[in-house]
Amino acid sequence: MALPALIEHDRALASQVLAGDELAFRELYRRHTPRLYQLVLRLLGGRDADAEDAVQDTWLKATERLDRFRWECAFGTWLSAIALNVAREQMRRRIRRPEADWPEDLDPPAAAPFDVVDSMDLEHAVADLPDGYRAVLVLHDVEGYTHEEIGLALGIAEGTSKSQLFWARQALRATLGSRQKGIPA
């Protein structure tokens, strides 16, 4: 199905959901939840229960606001924006972990770029990052958001997004480098 047709189909399903149609909701859920679940799972550091709560919360909020959605962007994009807010709230509620593993006025550790890396190792290294680093890195390097979009989505300045990304990549390289050498991170 072409993109406009997909959007139109989402729109048709959404109007049925607004009328209380369970089957339409289930179809909409099945179309978008795998993508949504992966996004929040990665943002929340691979915690299944948290991701499950976030997905459920996202759908509850989405159905509450569905009648106000103006269809100026794709339904999936709108849903992801809600999911980002939900995930951000969850991260705020958690016991705060230090956002920087080393002071910013010091030189970053000499972390070599990683070369060949197993997907699972990369997932684990991303999951181990502090929440703020991970959110920016996932949105920028995995999801392809711009710093401006990340700033809007996470409620941070564009410059903060750039700085967080830099430190996130350095931390990731250090973790993967030490794992490849068999040194515990």
Binding site: G20, E52, Q56, D115
Partner: protein, 186 residues
């Protein structure tokens, strides 16, 4: 030399290979639907009543006991609120107390009621059609009375209407003459 701020091509490729979708946990869809139904966003499907049968399965009896508890408790509450002070309810619930106390009394009375019905079920020999029928009649009698009270409070309540309709159909079925048998003589 690569700027350390940028991703190397290998790093970029590594990120590109990460999956973009994951199978959500089983049951999450149903839980989300149930939550949306509870919030009134999605309609709750009405299931058709089963056709009345002459024989009552013990599992149905257990269900009837549970339903009768809910309807009976509602009926008592309605009766109290509307001032319907039948001797039975007045004795069971007591009068002259606050609404909160009455609510607690209704809950206690309801628990005692369901305990009595459970004891009745345990004592009933379900292999014996006559004793099963007596126990069923007792349970359904209370169920019908409670459904009547609830329907007085909320005439369009679908659950109370469905119970009353089901009981009426059952009564008609039990009063219907046995089917005539056509005998062909050779």
């Amino acid at each position: 030399m690569t700027d350390p701020k940028d991703l190397t091509p290998a790093e970029r490729r590594a990120f590109e290979t990460l999956p973009r979708e994951a199978e959500p946990p089983k049951g999450l869809e149903d839980r989300t639907v149930a939550l949306l139904q509870a919030r009134g966003v999605l309609a709750v499907p009405l299931r058709p009543l089963a056709a009345p049968t002459r024989r009552w399965h013990p599992a149905w009896l257990v269900g009837a006991l549970a339903a009768s508890l809910a309807l009976f408790a509602s009926g008592i509450a309605v009766g109290q609120l509307l001032g319907a002070r039948s001797a039975t309810i007045a004795a069971a619930v007591g009068l002259g107390s606050s609404l909160a106390e009455r609510t607690q009394q209704v809950q206690r009375t309801g628990s005692e009621y369901v305990a009595a019905l459970t004891a009745l079920l345990q004592e009933t020999d379900t292999s014996d059609a006559a004793s099963r029928e007596r126990a069923t009649e007792a349970a359904l009698g209370a169920l019908g009375a409670a459904a009547q009270e609830v329907s007085r409070l909320a005439p369009s309540d679908p659950l109370a209407a469905a119970v009353l309709r089901g009981l009426t159909e059952r009564r008609r079925a039990s009063q219907a003459p046995p089917p005539t048998r056509t005998v062909v003589w050779y």
